[in-house]
């Protein structure tokens, strides 16, 4: 398993030592803190009834930030519903992401500038999409890359195989980024597959496979960066398995105590938490600055408060809007039903 810094925040591999600067460490820390603050607020807002069901990702910050910071302006991101940490890092607008969790369709497109595909809720369907977008880039002659995010459960789906297989046949510039957080809702990874690792599945497709410590933001970042470089150079797809952990529930509608010991999970926090690990590393290497840490914390809180205000003052939906954008032009049934609804709500 690829690891650059260990749990104590010390270098395991000197290979990347020169590439890791204070500035970069601060940038990673800032983004991880930012999305964790968002995530915890998301859970709180759901409990207060201010947004709908929320999907937390606490524990996966290193995987999402480390990967998302590799993308360049024109690259493509195909996330799932648990990857808004990655989309926020890549360029999703925070109020739009909150709108999504408030059930608003306007939140499905979180950025007008970035190629962020609306989060896939059906499992693994986005893998063939990422392959298709990547193949279209090749046909057009650009060197943009697509990254598909997916969880451990998705590796059992047919679209996991179909999407990767076709990408490998056509050497499409796509990175298949798996976050193995140990559980697909309640089903642990050992009941999901008989393989020892997810990364080893790459062998079947004849493509590089990398297993990386998903709690080590540097390891994730450099593994994904190298995969992007291969893709940009026409060397085809890579399968990356970031081994991580979901500290919380599957969603706010899930009670994880039904299938695992949450106290055990909390005991692992000292050892596993990717933000604590980076903090230790920065302190060990003279990159930590208490004033800076306080400053970014305040900045993030303020940004989040503003985003919540924007989300809450967003205009309420007109029920008739539900008939919009089924097709480019509405059909007669849609027009008829919309008129009836408008009449009834007048």
């Amino acid at each position: 398993m690829m690891e650059i810094i260990d749990k104590a925040g010390k270098f395991v591999s000197k290979e990347y030592e020169k590439e890791i600067t204070k500035e970069q460490a601060q940038k990673f820390y800032y983004h991880m803190l930012r999305i964790r603050t968002f995530d915890r607020k998301g859970k709180a807002l759901q409990r207060q009834g201010r947004i709908g069901t929320y999907v937390p990702f606490e524990g996966q910050e290193a995987s999402q930030v480390g990967s998302a910071l590799v993308l360049e302006e024109k690259d493509w991101m195909f996330p799932t519903y648990r990857d808004h940490g990655a989309t926020l890092t890549f360029g999703a607008e925070m109020d739009r992401v909150l709108l999504y969790w408030n059930g608003r369709v306007e939140g499905s497109v979180p950025s007008k500038e970035k190629n962020i595909y609306p989060a896939s809720v059906p499992i693994a369907t986005q893998l063939p999409h990422a392959t298709g977008a990547a193949m279209a880039e090749t046909y057009k002659g650009t060197n943009n890359v697509a990254i598909a995010y997916f969880g451990d459960g998705a590796t059992s789906e047919g679209d996991f195989h179909e999407g990767i297989n076709i990408a490998s046949v056509f050497q499409a510039p796509v990175v298949f980024f798996n976050q193995n957080n140990g559980f697909a809702i309640s089903v642990p990874i050992e009941k999901q597959m008989n393989s020892e690792t997810i990364a080893q599945k790459s062998e079947a497709y004849g493509i590089p496979g990398v297993r990386v410590d998903g709690m080590d933001v540097f390891a994730v970042h450099f593994a994904v960066k190298e995969a992007f470089e291969r893709a940009r150079n026409g060397e085809g797809p890579t399968l990356i398995e970031a081994v991580t952990w979901r500290f919380g529930a599957h969603t706010t509608a899930d009670d994880p105590t039904k299938y695992r010991d949450q106290e055990e999970t909390e005991k692992k926090r000292e050892e596993l938490d990717p933000i604590l690990r980076l903090e230790r590393f920065m302190k060990n290497h003279d990159m930590w600055d208490e004033d800076w840490a306080e400053k970014i914390e305040k900045e993030i809180e303020a940004e989040l408060d503003d985003a919540i205000v924007e989300m809450e003052k967003f205009q309420k939906p007109d029920p008739a809007d539900m008939f919009d954008y089924v097709f480019e032009e509405p059909t007669w049934t849609i027009q008829e039903q919309k008129e009836i609804l408008k009449g009834a709500t007048k």
């Binding site: 999409h129 298709g132 679209d159 954008y325 097709f327 480019e328 007669w332």
Partner: protein, 327 residues
């Protein structure tokens, strides 16, 4: 005007669209070097090359899914499902993704993909090469389903499907491929999706159907003129969304309606047509709406006698027409 078979009209439409727009490309199983198992894509590989006529792995969900990804990117994929029966692994991609992407992205993304598939029986295709699958998709707003009956309609509607900014399922009756021939202009014409077409004007009874059954109805109608029965025939051409206006008009014209499909009777497209007539034409009807359809069994059997019994044919249509006319 050149005479063309139904399948030649498909190849011509694909070729002309690929010449017109370099974003149009074809993908599917055996569509490249072989030119497709029915030869629908014959000659395209030689003319446009392997990057625009993609021989894909045997994976229907990926054919649809990769096509959807490329379509969202701005390409115009025409995906071929080798047989409509084998579209089933791609249903999740088609219904969960293609049909919903415009809606769930609030009009920011769309997937202008055309998915072609040969459907229908009467070719000794047995259970898995004979099915009609349109009703699986016909209650999925976001998808359009086109099922043409003549070479002329094929060319105009396939071009329209490729140019449409929404996903279109284009079902081609495989028995029609070489059976049906007709005049097809050289012009670059498109026909409107969502519009039915009167294939025969008549005053005594109305037949509403689509695909190969149009051909059977036309044959039966000719025979019935000898008995003084004048049949009006409406070709749905698009089975989702249905052309409500044309259906009402055709039903009111004679007050006696026969609906025909090769699909299983229960839950088929014509049930929806019947509901439109019931809602709008009660006082114009002179007889109960009649349905002629395949039996409600899982798929078309293989043994010749049973296949023949399953299929709609001109004799069955003629009998149903006569009974309705005499009602």
């Amino acid at each position: 005007m050149p005479i063309m078979s139904y399948i030649q009209a498909i190849t011509t439409a694909l070729k002309e669209e690929m010449q017109r727009d370099n974003k149009v490309f074809v993908l599917g199983e055996d569509v490249g070097r072989k030119g497709g198992v029915f030869r629908a894509t014959e000659g395209l590989y030689d003319e446009f090359g392997e990057y625009r006529v993609l021989d894909t792995p045997l994976a229907e969900s990926a054919i649809a899914g990769v096509g959807i990804g490329a379509a969202m990117y701005g390409m115009r994929p025409v995906a071929e499902m080798q047989f409509a029966d084998f579209i089933m692994p791609a249903v999740n991609q088609i219904i969960s993704e293609a049909a919903k992407i415009r809606y769930r992205s609030n009009n920011d993304w769309n997937a202008p993909i055309t998915i072609r598939a040969p459907y229908g029986g009467g070719v000794h295709g047995a259970l898995y090469h004979s099915q009609s699958v349109e009703s699986v998709f016909a209650n999925q707003p976001g998808l359009k389903i086109v099922m043409p009956s003549t070479p002329y309609d094929v060319k105009g509607l396939l071009k329209a499907s490729i140019r449409d900014n929404d996903p279109v399922l284009f079902f081609e009756h495989k028995r029609a491929y070489r059976l049906l021939k007709g005049e097809v202009p050289d012009d670059d014409y498109v026909l409107p999706i969502g519009k039915a077409d009167i294939k025969r004007n008549g005053t005594d009874i109305t037949v509403i159907t689509y695909g190969l059954c149009i051909h059977f109805a036309m044959q039966a109608a000719e025979k019935l003129t000898e008995e003084g029965i004048d049949v009006h025939i409406l070709d749905l051409r698009t089975v989702y969304p249905l052309d409500q206006e044309a259906i009402i008009e055709a039903a009111k014209k004679t007050g006696k309606v026969l609906l025909i499909t090769e699909d299983n009777k229960e839950g088929s497209i014509i049930g929806e047509v019947s509901a439109i007539i019931a809602e709008n034409c009660l006082f114009d009807l002179d007889a109960p709406v009649q349905r002629l359809a395949g039996p409600d069994i899982p798929s078309m059997p293989y043994a010749p006698t049973t296949e023949k019994f399953f299929m709609v044919n001109p004799d069955k249509v003629e009998k149903a027409m006569r009974e309705l006319a005499e009602y």
